[in-house]
Structures are given as structure tokens and as C-alpha cells.
């Protein structure tokens, strides 16, 4: 590096991340972030470049990167002196290459909401620099150019847990514009995985009868790792958006944990089921729509909306977020529900036990909710199976209190749908009609026998299956 060393006092962020004792030491020694220093310490001499410090780390250490590439921390209390020998600032830049346009390939729009699908890691700080423009994406996943022509649009920059009403509406409207005003063949939505199934559900309600696939995608291992699932997921999603004939809202993520194929899940029946596995998304209570790999998309069922040539779509982007979800537990007190009523909530989704139950002490609160005009729907915390409130007296009692069974709607899906329904009306029967009329399999008429398959590891026949197939 031959660039001139900037004047110390003019360097921006020269104590980046350092506070308290660590910062005082840097100030005293007149060195800062990106200074190449020789440090004398009571444990010996150490040489390297001072790195920014993580905001959450303590104020008793200075981090340096040594020539070997390793980072080490020096205790402030042990440092005798630090001398600046040079200055090497990191430059953040994702290499860009022009995304090639091929008239024979489908046109796909990628909307970004904030999750990093592709990114570059700064090797010194560990900072993740997102790659998002077509050029940046081409620079990191060049195979995309074999699949489609790409336009990208960054709508939001939020973590997936921060997606909410404003973003849902904005995203649905952006999708509507892209369908009506551009001649596109498919849409990919990049999304953090944690709440991807919430967004997939609400998009299903807000974007009805789309003529093209709307494919949500993310990654479980960030794309700065050689083993990341991001590139393959993105390739699968772009391929689905550009070429599949399934014109619905889909989630496209790994099938097995191996780099083998992806699964396309219907937006209303999908759920993140593992906090870290690649193959975390599963279709619940039904079978997935299709498998996808680099070569082909293989539908597993035929009851889906087909791709159309027209540009028509119903955008119904309303959302009342005065709804809560209650995960019932034994001994739950009525005040939990009372407080929701008092705070002005208009809808409650209960994830009840078994077939959809809560204990008797909650009944007065449920009645009070009903009388206050709060819409209460029952789902099951078993996730698989239907609410069945006729089987026991308690269920029948609850229905008399105004609790509406939501069939086999997943709790999060019921939550999203109630928000959407309350965006239309607060009239009891109309809300009920909207809730119980399925738009896209959020309630199904029947559950196939293989909609519930959780094999128990360790059994001989399962061991045999696992040994014979890639995990």
C-alpha cells in the first residue's frame, strides 16, 4: 500500500467501536483503527493493524490483525506503548460485472427486503457487505445469467424479524406494479429466513391470482462461506420464477441439507422448523408443490394455478396489526387475555392444546373479548392436524363464547390472515367469511396420510432409509 497516511486527527472513525479504557489508551498513544502498530506489552511485543472493535465487546482489549492473518486481542492493562508504523485502511467494495442480457431468457425481478442473499465478507473486520445490484450478484453468482435476465430493486433493509405492516403493504404493491407495468416472467423476493413464512402467507392474501410465480428465498448459511446454501437457493428461485408454471406465492429453500435440490412450498402451508438446519422449511399438513434443481422443476401435485400470459392480478394490500397470538400453556391466567382487550386489540389467535383447548378459568375472559368485539380464532400448537371443537364439551363451550375454530390453518398463517381480514372489515360475519374461505390452501379440505411424516431417528428402518439417501 503506497497511499499517503492521512493526518491522525483528520481520520474519521479512528476509534471505531472502542470505548472507556481502550479508547483512552488509543488516544494517549495517538494510534487508531487501521494504524499498523508495534505494541510493547507485559506479555511481549505484538505487531499488526488495529481493527475496529465490535460494539458488544468489552473496553479492556485492543484487536490487531497480525501479518499471518490472525486477529489477537491485547489487554489494555498490559500495553506499555504503541507506535504507529503505517496505516492500511480497508476498502469495502463488491466487485461488479455487467449482468449479461439475453433476449431468449426470461425476465426476473428480484426484490430485496433486507436479508443478505449474496454478500462479501470484509476479511479484516468480518463486516458483511451485501451484494445486491445485478452486477454485484453476477459477480458472486454468475450462474444466474444462465437462468434469466435480472433486474433488482431494494425495497427495504430490515432484518426479517422487523418486517411488519408497512413492509408487507409496500412489498405487495411493488409486486403488483412489476406484474402490471413490466413484462416480467417471474418475481423473486429475497428475505431473511426467520419470518419468511409469515411474509409468504400475507403475500398470498395480498397478491391474489398472480399470472406468474412469486418466489421467496433466503439462506441459512451466509454467502460469505464456501459452504453457503445462498447461491444454490438463489439459482433455484430464479429458475422457478423464470420458468415454472406455478403462478403462486412459493418459498424456495433446501430440500435435504445436502446440496442436492430445493423444495417449493406453498406460501400458506410452510413453516421454519429448525433454528439452524439448511433444510429448515417444511410443508406442514400437506406435501410440497415441487422439487427444483439446476436442471428441472418437478411438480409433486397438479392442483396449482397455472402461469398466464395476461398481466392481471388482484392486489389487496390491507393489514390491521391490532392482532395478537397466544400460545396456551397449562395454568394460563385470564389476565393475559384481559390485558389484550384493554390494550385495544381487535383479534386474537390462540394456539391451543390438542384439538384446540384452553382451560376453564379463561372462559370469562374469552366471553369478555367477544363482547368487546374482539375476534378470537383457535388453531393448534401441534401444528399438524385440525382444530376439532365438537369432540369435547369444553370445545363446544368455547364456541358458544365466540371462539371460531380455524381448521388446519397454521397459527402464524391464521395470525397473518386475521390481520388481513380485519383490514377489510370488523363485522363479525364478514371477518369469519374471509377467515374461513381459503385463498390458497391455508385451510385444506383433507389431510393426506403423508402430510405428516416425522421419522424417528434410531429405528432400524429409518436408519436404513437415512443410510441409503443423502441427508
Amino acid at each position: 500500500m503506497t497511499e499517503p497516511i492521512p493526518v491522525f486527527d483528520e481520520r474519521p472513525d479512528r476509534y471505531k467501536g472502542y470505548r472507556g479504557a481502550a479508547r483512552a489508551l488509543l488516544e494517549r498513544e495517538r494510534v487508531g483503527v487501521w494504524s499498523d502498530v508495534l505494541a510493547r506489552t507485559s506479555r511481549g511485543d505484538f505487531a499488526g493493524i488495529i481493527l475496529p472493535r465490535s460494539e458488544t465487546a468489552d473496553d479492556r482489549h485492543i484487536v490487531i490483525k497480525m501479518v499471518s492473518g490472525y486477529n489477537v486481542g491485547l489487554a489494555v492493562a498490559n500495553v506499555i506503548s504503541m507506535v504507529e508504523r503505517g496505516y492500511t485502511e480497508a476498502h469495502y467494495k463488491v466487485p461488479e460485472k455487467e449482468f449479461p442480457v439475453d433476449g431468449g431468457k426470461p425476465n426476473v425481478v428480484l426484490f430485496g427486503t433486507g436479508g443478505t442473499i449474496a454478500s462479501r465478507l470484509d476479511y479484516r473486520t468480518g463486516a458483511v457487505i451485501p451484494a445486491f445490484s445485478p452486477g454485484e450478484l453476477y459477480g458472486s453468482v454468475p450462474e444466474l445469467a444462465d437462468v434469466c435476465n435480472l433486474r433488482t430493486e431494494k425495497l427495504y433493509g430490515v432484518f426479517s424479524e422487523n418486517m411488519a405492516r408497512e413492509q408487507y403493504i409496500g412489498l405487495a404493491e411493488a409486486i403488483g406494479r412489476a406484474i402490471r407495468e413490466e413484462g416480467i416472467d417471474g418475481i423473486v423476493v429475497g428475505h431473511g429466513t426467520d419470518t419468511m413464512h409469515h411474509t409468504a402467507a400475507v403475500l398470498t392474501f395480498m397478491v391474489q391470482n398472480p399470472p406468474i410465480p412469486i418466489v421467496m428465498v433466503g439462506s441459512q448459511r451466509s454467502s460469505d462461506r464456501p459452504s453457503s446454501d445462498a447461491a444454490l437457493n438463489l439459482i433455484h428461485a430464479a429458475k422457478t420464477a423464470g420458468t415454472s408454471d406455478i403462478a403462486e406465492v412459493l418459498v424456495c429453500m433446501f430440500g435435504p441439507t445436502s446440496d442436492e435440490y430445493g423444495l417449493l412450498h406453498r406460501g400458506t402451508r410452510v413453516r421454519k422448523m429448525h433454528s439452524s438446519y439448511r433444510s429448515t422449511f417444511r410443508t406442514i399438513g400437506d406435501i410440497p408443490m415441487a422439487t427444483v434443481d439446476r436442471d428441472e422443476i418437478v411438480p409433486l401435485r397438479s392442483d396449482y394455478n397455472r402461469r398466464r400470459e395476461d398481466r392481471e392480478v388482484t392486489i389487496d394490500a390491507v393489514f390491521d396489526d391490532r392482532v395478537s397470538i397466544i400460545y396456551y400453556y397449562p395454568g394460563m391466567k385470564a389476565d393475559v387475555i384481559d390485558s389484550l382487550i384493554d390494550c385495544g386489540y381487535k383479534g386474537i389467535v390462540i394456539a391451543g392444546t390438542g384439538l384446540g383447548h384452553v382451560n376453564k378459568p379463561l372462559y370469562p375472559a374469552l366471553k369478555r373479548a367477544h363482547d368487546a368485539g374482539v375476534h378470537v380464532y383457535m388453531t393448534v400448537q401441534t401444528l399438524w392436524g385440525y382444530v376439532q371443537m365438537y369432540v369435547y364439551d369444553t370445545g363446544r363451550d368455547m364456541m358458544e363464547l365466540g371462539v371460531v375454530p380455524a381448521a388446519n390453518m397454521l397459527p402464524e398463517v391464521a395470525y397473518m390472515k386475521l390481520c388481513w381480514a380485519l383490514g377489510h372489515s370488523h363485522e363479525r360475519d364478514e371477518v369469519k367469511r374471509l377467515m374461513l374461505t381459503p385463498i390458497s390452501s391455508e385451510i385444506t379440505r383433507r389431510e393426506p396420510h403423508d402430510g405428516y411424516l416425522i421419522y424417528q431417528g434410531g429405528l432400524p428402518e429409518v436408519a436404513e432409509f437415512v443410510a441409503g439417501n443423502l441427508k
Partner: protein
């Protein structure tokens, strides 16, 4: 080509020989480094397989160019074999790491202190990228514990650049075509990496330093031993050459041949460069060409080409201008320059047949001369050019041809940066291009860990002496090196100390039992006895419950079942109730079994009689020296009797 025996230190000095070591040593811990899986011994058993691809990340390459993309397109499928008992979702890269195993860190700190390293104050976990698939994440989690240490080897000091604590990688099972298979049993077992400065000036010195590092790490008694527990990389360069890393050397003894032949290989490559420059070739204007020539050689009888053609493969010919004679230039005692080309074809184009190329000066397998002529015409060859053929599936063969051309061009530059694989015969194979310098990333999954002065003080207080201090101390107790080294390796040093000082057991006996008999039981019967029970055993010995002769069989019994109690085992072998009367037993035994009488030589006769007496139930119960007195008396009596009878 000279053998290591034919070279003197001066010869190596003239070459400019320089070598440094990276010693990897697994630590003896209960769990793996970043998860709670047991750090068990290797087992070939597995119950599931995963498939992954390793994708070059942008930062490593700066950006993707045509070559990188090509390399990625012909990429390897990596298969990981996993077993439920030894691998969890962490090693599969399906879960983030758990906190670092403190036990491993303590051992690493102890070794760093023994190497006089400067300890860091705060550990930062780093990801070191590996694209070969040897770790499912694509990177190894590693952290520097200490830097700038030193080690005394004989009379000189060797400097230690750094000591890192890291997780072990997978064991490669096979690598065929586009598929590489790894076993994950040793994945993530904690290990330390000790890196020396490149200060070794002869192959013999490399061996010596390797042994010194091993001895030091083993002296803690807290490192793993046995096959694969310690593995070394060695880097070698000569004047004008390049630092070449030879990976995964299983035995220190192999360093001598490996570093010797690597130095000579570099010298040969430099000679080739001089020759080629002399022929007027320059790297920037060197223009090899290659074409598909499948049609021209379709009727060859050469088996590997016929096989490739039968599988719809193609054949490429590469013309290397003015390369005549170069491909046959010796680069090691086993190989010529064409081996360099073949290595690239095998690794980068995934064509691993043997042979995977041939050339028109090949003394071995070759297509017919008239076919060569046809190929020569097709590529417009002139006198002095060399021709190389490669074959295989179309994509692979094309990549192979361009790799051959690229490696030939590199010959004009010198010794390319590579990592190389050790072969048993002392030669090496190309493994991969040396990774770029920017492959170290901070691990964002784990917070930094402070190494407090209290922690360092605790380890300093409890760690044993250095090997040389320990050796001096043992010599004072009358032990010689043949007893000291096995004892040191056994890991029972602390126990030895207790047995000798607390129980007053003679040091030699304690050293034999702890250094040799426990090892014998482990090796011969795979029996392992915990230290507490061995101490109990010594206690019983010190209380005269049995004699030294019984140690062997008692250790064997104890080792057979970790649940057995020491008292019970002794009672079963040597019941108190049937304790014999020594005098009567000796007399009865010598009277009943009389073959000793026929032996004339007094020493041999005494030995045979001793054997008879001990076998009669005295072994382990009555000290040998007491029995000997009794036998001696009995023999003297017999002699007198015989003389009397004779007269």
C-alpha cells in the same frame, strides 16, 4: 539424482536449503473443540452421508474471472460420511458453534508456555478458508494462543512463530473423478498447530526439530498418541525457488527424504527455466496451442485412450513450442517434468487415470508413430516442439489441455506456489495451488475470550517441568533414558511422582510399570487402566500384599474391566487364604519336579530351579529374592547330598 545420504550440510548450504515445520497435534480432551461431541478415536463406521459443494467466495478471489468460473464448473462433489455418535449438527455445518472447550484451551496454553511463547490477552476465533472440502463449513475455526516462542533442540534454539488452537479436519477416504469422500470421525477434535520459523538448514535438522516438538507436546501427558494424532506439514525452499508446503506427513522420519527431494525438485525446475530461457522462450510471449484431435487418433490401440473414446470422451493435443527434451528432464528420483503436468491434470481437470497424459518423447506407452505425425501436422508442429495428449469427458479434457499449457508456461517463471502431497517413496504429488493470503476471516459466531493473568498463573502452577528439566530430575533418581522416554510418553508422569514420593516405591520399578507395562497392556490387549486404580495397585504393593512379579498379570486383569476393584482383583489372583509357606513350597516343588537336577552349569541350574519354585504358587506372593535364598539353600543341600552319595 543424489540420495539424502550422498549430500553433506555444505551441499545443502550451496542449494540454499531452508525448511520450517507446522506440527499438528491432537489434544486429549473429553469433547470436541466447538461442540459437545465426544472426541473419540477413529472409526470407519458411519450411518449417513451428506453432499456439499465448496464455492469460492468473492473475497478470496477478489472477483470471479474465467478460470475461477471454469474451475467451479468442473467442481468436486464432496461427500461426508457421518455417524450419530461422533458427529452432531455443528460438524455438519447445520448449527452454529458452541463455546470453545476450556479444557483444550488450558492444554494449548500449557504447551504455549512451555514453548516460551508470548501469550495473547484475548483470543479471537478466525475462519481459515479451505476449498478442498476437508471441513464441511469450508473453513477451519482457529485461534492464536501464543507467538514468538522458542524451543531448545540440542545446542541450538529454534524459533516458534506461533501456536494456534484449532479444530481438526476430515479424513479423506477417496478422491475419484469429480467425487471426493471424507470421513468425519476426527472432524473438530481439538488440535494445536505449532509453526516454526524456516530455520532448518538440512533435512536431518528437520527430523531433529520435529522430534523435539513432539517430545515437548507429549511431555504434557495431555495430547493424543497413535496413528494420525500428530501430523506435520513441512515447507521447503531453495535459493531462487519458492516456499512449497508438503502436507500431512504422517511420520517424522519421512521428513528427511521428502525435504531432500523437494529441494532437488526445485533445483531441477530452476535448471529447466534456465534452459528454456536459453532457448529464447519468455513467459509473456510463450504461445502453446491445443486442439481436439479425437478423429485423428480414433483407431489407436492404446488402452486408456480407447476406454475414454468408448465412454464418448475426446482427445486433445497440446503443442509446447521448443519444449523438446524438457518433459523427460528428471525432477525427482521417481519423476520427470511430465509428472508436473500430470498432477495438474489430475487435480484441476479431475482426470485421475494412470497415465492421464502422454507425450511424443514418452519412453512408455505411446500411440503409433504415424498417429503422432498426423497430430503434429494438425497442430503445425516444427522441430523442437513437444506434443502432449490428454483425454477424457469433453469439458474435463479441454480444461486438462489448458492446464498443461499453463503449467508449461509457469516453467518459464520458476517454481509455482503449490501445496504438495507426501508419497511414501519420498517424492511428492501436486495437491493444489497455494491459497491466496486473504483467506482468514473473523468468526462472527463467537465472542472473543480473555486470557486472564489468573488463568495463566494457574496453569503455570500446575504444569510439569520441561522435558529437559524432567530428564535431569529422573537421572538423579537413577533412571536412564530408555526408562525416561517411555515414561514421559505414557502420560503417567504425575502418577510416577506420587508413587515414588508418597509410597516410596523404587523409581526404577515405578518407571517400568508405568512406562512399559501399561503401554504393553494397551498395545497388546488394548487394555487401559485408569490412574486411580494403578495408584491403588501400588499402594497394595507398598503394603507387601504382592511382589513386583505380579504387576504384569494384575494390570492385565484390571484393564479388562473398568468396573473391577483393585482389592478384588488381587484377592482373585492371589487369595490370602491359600498363602503358601515358602520353605515348604520350595522343598516340595524341587522334590517333585526334578529336571533342574540334570543341568550342570550352576547359573542355568539355579535359574531352572527358581522357575520351578516360582511356578509352584510363589510368584507374586513371595519376593523373588527370598525365594532365591531358599532355592539356593535347597540346591546347596542337594549338592552336598550328591557329593555324599558319590563318595
Amino acid at each position: 539424482m543424489k540420495t539424502p545420504e550422498q549430500m553433506t550440510a555444505e551441499d545443502y548450504a550451496r542449494l540454499g536449503f531452508m525448511a520450517g515445520l507446522e506440527v499438528h497435534q491432537q489434544l486429549e480432551t473429553d469433547t470436541k473443540l466447538f461442540c459437545r461431541c465426544p472426541a473419540t478415536r477413529y472409526s470407519p463406521r458411519y450411518d449417513a452421508e451428506l453432499l456439499r459443494h465448496m464455492r469460492p467466495t468473492m473475497s478470496e478471489l477478489g472477483e470471479y474471472d474465467g478460470t475461477a468460473l471454469m474451475e467451479f464448473k468442473t467442481r468436486k462433489e464432496i461427500i461426508y460420511r457421518i455417524a450419530r455418535d461422533t458427529v452432531c449438527t455443528y460438524e455438519m455445518d447445520d448449527a452454529p458453534p458452541f463455546s470453545l472447550a476450556e479444557q483444550a484451551l488450558d492444554i494449548a496454553l500449557e504447551i504455549a508456555l512451555k514453548l516460551d511463547c508470548k501469550l495473547v490477552s484475548e483470543l479471537h476465533i478466525i475462519r481459515k478458508q479451505y476449498l478442498d472440502g476437508s471441513i464441511p463449513t469450508g473453513f477451519q475455526r482457529t485461534t492464536i494462543v501464543g507467538v514468538d516462542g522458542e524451543l531448545r533442540v540440542g545446542e541450538r534454539i529454534v524459533h516458534v512463530r506461533q501456536l494456534a488452537l484449532e479444530e481438526d479436519s476430515c479424513r479423506e477416504v477417496s478422491d475419484r473423478g469429480h467425487r471426493r469422500v471424507y470421513m468425519t470421525d476426527r472432524l473438530s477434535i481439538p488440535l494445536i498447530e505449532v509453526v516454526t520459523e524456516p530455520e532448518m538448514r538440512t533435512p536431518a535438522e528437520v527430523v531433529e526439530v520435529g522430534e523435539a516438538v513432539r517430545r515437548l507436546t507429549r511431555s504434557t501427558g495431555k495430547v493424543r498418541t497413535g496413528a494420525g494424532a500428530a501430523r506435520q506439514d513441512v515447507n521447503v525452499s531453495v535459493k531462487g525457488g519458492t516456499r512449497i508446503e508438503i502436507k500431512g506427513v504422517p511420520s517424522i522420519k519421512m521428513f528427511r527424504a521428502l525435504t531432500h527431494y523437494e529441494a532437488l525438485r526445485q533445483k531441477a525446475l530452476l535448471d529447466i527455466r534456465r534452459e528454456l530461457l536459453g532457448r529464447g522462450l519468455r513467459p509473456d510471449t510463450f504461445a502453446p496451442t491445443w486442439h481436439e484431435v479425437t478423429a485423428l487418433v480414433r483407431h489407436t490401440t492404446v488402452a486408456p485412450i480407447r476406454k475414454a473414446l468408448k465412454e464418448d470422451g475426446v482427445v486433445y493435443a497440446v503443442r509446447l513450442p521448443r519444449f523438446r527434451g524438457i518433459l523427460r528432464h528428471r525432477t525427482s528420483h521417481q519423476h520427470a517434468f511430465d509428472h508436473e503436468l500430470s498432477g495438474r491434470v489430475r487435480v484441476i481437470a479431475c482426470l485421475d487415470g494412470s497415465p492421464n497424459l502422454m507425450h511424443d518423447e514418452d519412453p512408455g506407452m505411446s500411440i503409433a508413430p504415424r498417429l503422432w505425425d498426423a497430430v503434429r501436422r494438425a497442430l503445425d508442429c516444427v522441430n523442437g516442439d513437444s506434443l502432449v495428449l490428454v483425454w477424457g469427458p469433453a469439458e474435463d479434457a479441454r480444461l486438462a489441455a489448458s492446464e498443461v499449457a499453463e503449467r508449461a508456461r509457469e516453467a518459464l517463471i520458476g517454481v509455482p506456489s503449490e501445496t504438495r502431497q507426501a508419497r511414501a517413496d519420498g517424492a511428492t504429488n501436486f495437491e493444489r495451488i497455494l491459497p491466496g493470503p486473504n483467506r482468514m476471516y473473523p468468526d462472527t459466531d463467537l465472542p472473543p475470550i480473555a486470557i486472564t493473568d489468573e488463568r495463566v498463573a494457574r496453569i503455570e502452577d500446575t504444569m510439569g517441568p520441561l522435558p529437559r528439566e524432567w530428564e535431569a530430575c529422573c537421572r538423579e533418581r537413577g533412571l536412564h533414558l530408555e526408562l525416561i522416554i517411555p515414561l514421559e510418553r505414557s502420560g503417567h508422569r504425575d502418577l510416577f511422582e506420587r508413587v515414588v514420593t508418597e509410597l516410596n516405591v523404587p523409581p526404577k520399578l515405578a518407571a517400568v510399570v508405568l512406562g512399559q507395562l501399561t503401554r504393553w497392556a494397551r498395545r497388546r490387549y488394548a487394555l487401559y487402566c485408569d490412574e486411580e486404580r494403578i495408584f491403588e495397585l501400588f499402594k497394595a504393593f507398598a503394603a507387601d500384599r504382592f511382589t513386583r512379579e505380579a504387576f504384569r498379570s494384575l494390570l492385565k486383569s484390571l484393564g479388562s474391566d473398568p468396573g473391577l476393584k483393585v482389592g478384588d482383583v488381587i484377592e482373585a489372583a492371589l487369595p490370602r487364604s491359600s498363602a503358601p509357606d515358602p520353605q515348604a513350597t520350595v522343598n516340595r516343588a524341587l522334590a517333585e519336579e526334578t529336571h533342574w537336577r540334570a543341568i550342570v552349569a550352576p547359573e542355568a541350574r539355579l535359574k531352572a530351579a527358581m522357575g520351578v519354585a516360582m511356578d509352584a504358587g510363589l510368584r507374586g506372593r513371595v519376593p523373588g529374592r527370598e525365594v532365591r535364598v531358599l532355592v539356593d539353600e535347597a540346591l546347596s543341600a542337594a549338592d552336598i547330598e550328591r557329593e555324599v552319595n558319590h563318595d
